[in-house]
Structures are given as C-alpha cells and as structure tokens.
Amino acid sequence: MLVLRWAAAGTLVVAICAALWRAAHPPRGATGARAALARYAAHPSAVLALIALVSLYVLSALAPWLATHDPIAILERTLSNHAPSRAFLFGTDYAGRDVFSRVLYGARISLSIALLATSISVVVGTLWGVTAGFYGGRLDALMMRLVDAFLAIPRIVLLIAVGTLWAPLSMSALIIVLGLTAWFDTSRLVRAEVLSIKDREMVVAARALGATDLAIVKRHVLPNVLTPVIVAATLGVAGVIINEAALSFLGIGVPDPTPSLGNIIRDGTPYLASAWWVALFPGITLVITALAYNLAGDGLRDAMDPRQVDR
C-alpha cells in the first residue's frame, strides 16, 4: 500500500515537472511570463533546483500520507538508535522514533515556517522601502538609519536574544520573529529601486495628469519592484530555513516533540559517533533545500531581468 502511495507521489512530482518543462518551451516570440520561464529553463542548475523544490514540497505536503511511522510516538525503547533498515529507512533516534518519518514531517514544518516568515519579511520590507524611498527626505534618512542599526546586529544573535527572552516561543511567535528579522535587506533593495523609478518621466507624467501618491505606487512603483523582490524573497527563504534550523538546534525554535529539521539534527548530535544517521539525513535535507532555493533565486534573477536578451 505504502509503495503505491509513494509511486503516486512520484508521479505527481514528475507530472508537475513535465508541465513546467512544457511551459518553458513556448512558441517562438512568446513574451512575459512564458519567455521568462524559458530563460529560467536555460540554466541547468536552476532547473535541478526547481525539481528538488517541487519534490520537497510535494513529499512534505503529503507527509501524513507517506510517512512509514508516527513521527512523535516512541516506538520502543529497545529500538533506540537503531541503524537504517528496511523497516526504518533512516534508522531511529535515541528515543526510538523513526527518523525517516520525522524528516518528512520536519521538512514540512520547516518549509511552512520559512514560507510564512518570508511572506512577512517581504511585506514589511516592501512597505518600509517604498515608504522611505517614495517620501524621501528626513523620513527616509530616519527609516534607513534604523535598518542600518538592525543590520549591524548579527541576525542569529538577535534571534537568540528574542528566543530566550520569550522562551518558549509558540509556532506563530517563531514565524513572526523570523519574519521580522529578515526584511532589512529587502527594504534596502526596494528603496533603491523606488528612488530610481520615482524620478522617471512616467511618474512625472502621471503626476501631471493628477495621479495620487497611492495610484503612482500601485501603478508605477510596485510592478517595477516586483522582480527584485521576488528574487530576494527566494534567496531569503534559504536564509530563514537555516535560521529556523539554527534556533531549533539551540533548543529555542520549534518546541519539542514537534519535529523540524533543526530539532532532529539536535537530537542526533550527541550520538554522531555511534548513530550518525539521525543527524545526517535531516542535515542533507536542509542543505538540499537551502541550496535549491539559492540556485532557484539565481535562475530567477536572470530570468526576470528584462534586459536579458533571448539566446
């Protein structure tokens, strides 16, 4: 039965990838999103990254359906630190929990947290950058100096401080904290872009025809900052995943016994010499996820650059 479910999940991954691949080969002269997708598909590493991401998301979304064991239930004390076998593909941890199932669920938690936190950081960073860049002057100076100040504090130190101050963090608090410490770069990027857009003739022309500030932001500024923001967000997800793992590893992230990639690695660290599998598999998953997001971000940067000519 389980084999069939895995086969179904695999088929789904292949189907999504095939659909994307077909969309990436548009008829000649295609414009907009399809042409951008075609430019993306020209990067082998970006394509691999996208396949990895599709697989990760499909598998972790279907985790309850695909897991071989309960990720939290302690199976049997006697099965503590059991080596990988047919029954326990990635082995078991010190408490006798199935690492394979925990990694599936853990990836699900980590990916969800990263996506939600990044959404928060994108919204806050964009609003901050647009406000500073658009209104300029003293407000701009004040807002950007604040960003400089935040950037001067290493992010992980900031996270540990907040995490220990309000420990234990609930899941939603964790998401908000991760999101609110990740928007500084986005706001700088957006501000720079807004500064270059707001003096363009089209903005002066729109003003000359009575456009309101809001209309100018909606029609001229946001569509033009969208591209760099999407790229930054993609790269940002990788950073958030790593930060979440780091927090969980330090024991101030996702609360036990809920698995997250960082949690599982922490559980395995004391036994690295005897039971290497506990930390290794979630570690590999973490590296693949972060790497895939970074590569996909690089691919997107090229694909969405309108100055990029089609080869």
């Binding site: 002057g137 363009r200 089209m202 209309a215 029609r219």
Partner: protein, 342 residues
C-alpha cells in the same frame, strides 16, 4: 479685454543646492487667453521646462517656487491651493505632455489601461465606462482600430502613435490648458507635422489653450499665435508670431532665427550664437545676454534692461529699444573674442 485663462506674474523658481542657488526661472510674467496657442522658445537650460513644471507645481526638491510669485488660473490662485486641490487641477483642468512618450508611458500596462486610469483617479467612473472612453479617445487622436489598439503595450506602438496616446491621456478630461513640453522633439519630421496638426485640430475642436514649449522656431511658427522667447531664466522678447518673425527685436531672437537653416539656402556652415548659456547659479550682471551679443555696449554690462514696449503686444528686454542707433554698429561678441564657442 476679458480675464486671461492663465496669468503668471513674477514667477521665480529657485533650486537651493549645496553649490548655491540656481535661479532657473527668475521673474517670468505672461498671460494665456482662452483657446490661445502660445509658444515658449529658448535653448536648453533657459528655464522653459522649469516654467511649465512650476505651473503644475511639480517642482521637486530642492526646487521651490519663491514667495512673491503668482500664478492665477481660471481665477484661482494656484500657489495658495492645498496639495489635494492642486492634484485635482492636474489632468482635469491643466494637462501636460512630454517629450519622450516611451519613457512617459508605463511599459507594463496596456495603453488602454493607462488612458482609462486618468478619469478613474479624478472621479468614481466604473472600469468599463473608463475603458470605453479610453477607446473613444484613441479614435479622437487618430489611432486606427482603437478598440484593438487599446490592448497594445507601449513598446508595440510607433513613436508617433505613442505621442498620440500621450495626447489622448492628457485630453481625457478636456482640460482648459494643455502644456506640451517639446512634444515633437523625439519624432521624425513627417510625424512631427502630423502631431502638430493633430494638436491644432484638437484645439479648434475643444477650445482649449495650448502652451507649446520648444527649442524649434519652426514648430512655433507653424502652430502658435504668440511667442515668448526665454533666455537665462527670463522672458527676453514676446510678440505675435508674425510680428516676431518679420521684425525680431532682441539680438538673441535674431540669433535664433539666423541659426535656423532654411530650405533652398546654400551655406557652408550653420550660423551659431557664440558662447554658451550662462550658469543659473551666477547669471551675468547687466543684460544676461551681453557677453554673446554683437551690439552690446557699456550700458548692457551694468544695467539690467527692463521689458521695453516695442509695439502693440510686442516687448523686448534690450536697451536697443531706447538706443536704436547702436544696431548699425555690430561687433564681435565678447564670448567669440574669448574663443568660447558653443
């Protein structure tokens, strides 16, 4: 005479920068009557674009319209309005079009959407009605197959078409005054003529006034009834278009006309006015043109000339008005002697 539509008095727009104060527009006064077409001519840097942006209060920091300036439009003191009331006048009563329609249009929206946006920011007209008016307006500005064309993006249109779209956007709300800042400079000569013709046609149809800003005297001759010549932030001459071309008074206007190539004329080199426009941070004392003027004498170096009345509706900022005999003895301007050429 009835009240003019627009009345500008002693307009001063200064830019206060770390390098000093740039007096880009320095005491400009003029009127525009209803349904009149007025041209403003001058070299780049003479303040003509800053003047037009000042009329709409679109001067950005560090520029400011100095206290004491006065702009009255349809009986309203524009400089006393709050920002929101001023915004409502833009596009609605005074509209403006720009030199380069490619950069003035938003590349990511269809031209129909951009036209439809104009009435939508001024009233609560529905999306559908706004679109219908956009399509109608594209027809008015002479775009063939407007219903289809409305769905095009700016880059899919030619330069002339794009300028028609810009004009259409400006006319969406039937403004009383259209400011056209070099509307044909970026276009081919043949397209230029078409656009000027379109503007004339629309002016006849809608009874609006046009303020046409250009560096091209030919454009002014074709499409305006009155001309304002600007130099170094000031009006140096103002006259009816025929009067100006028949009998230019200010040496700068003379120079501009001499620099205009004419058809059928054989010339080895284009005539130029020697020297360059002085810096707005430091306008010359006396007459601001004296260093480049072939008639300048001592008086011009020390005494800033007022606008002398030359004839009916003809004024000139030149001391030749009171010492006309000086015109008989031209000499090398100082700028040419110094070996400075533009």
């Amino acid at each position: 005479m009835t009240e003019p539509l627009l009345s500008v008095r002693d307009l001063r727009t200064y830019f206060r920068t770390s390098a000093g104060v740039a007096r880009a527009v320095d005491g400009v006064s003029f009127d525009i009557a209803a349904n009149e077409s007025v041209g403003v001519v001058g070299e780049s840097g003479c303040g003509k674009s800053v003047t037009s942006l000042s009329l709409l209060r679109l001067i950005q920091r560090p520029g400011t319209i100095e206290p004491g300036s006065h702009i009255e439009f349809e009986g309203i003191d524009l400089l006393a309005l709050d920002d929101e009331s001023m915004r409502k006048i833009r596009g609605n009563r005074i509209a403006m079009i720009f030199q380069e329609p490619m950069t003035a249009l938003n590349p990511v929206f269809t031209v129909g959407a951009q036209l439809a946006e104009v009435p939508r920011v001024h009233s609560d007209i529905g999306r559908r009605d706004a679109w219908a008016r956009a399509v109608e307006m594209l027809g008015v500005v002479g775009i063939p197959d407007p219903a289809e064309r409305a769905k095009s993006y700016p880059h899919q249109l030619s330069g002339g078409m794009r300028q028609r779209v810009m004009i259409g956007m400006a006319l969406m709300l039937s403004p009383a005054l259209l400011i056209a800042d070099e509307p044909t400079t970026a276009l081919d000569v043949t397209i230029q003529a078409q656009i000027l013709e379109l503007l004339a046609e629309l002016r006849a149809k809608t009874a609006m006034s046009v303020l046409l800003i250009t560096h091209d005297l030919g454009v002014v001759a074709e499409s305006t009834s009155r001309v304002i010549v600007m130099y170094a932030g000031e009006i140096v001459e103002q006259a009816g278009v025929r009067e100006l071309f028949a009998a230019p008074h200010h040496p700068y206007t003379e120079g501009l006309m001499a620099a205009m190539p004419r058809a059928g004329e054989k010339r080895e080199r284009l005539t130029v006015i020697p020297g360059t426009v002085p810096s707005p941070y430091d306008w010359p004392a006396g007459c601001r043109f004296h260093e480049r003027c072939p008639y300048a004498w001592e008086r011009c170096e020390s005494e800033h000339p007022p606008l002398y009345q030359i004839g009916a509706g003809h004024v000139s900022r030149c001391h030749l008005a009171v010492e006309p005999e000086r015109r008989a003895t031209p000499h090398e301007p100082r700028a040419a002697r110094a070996g400075v050429t533009a």
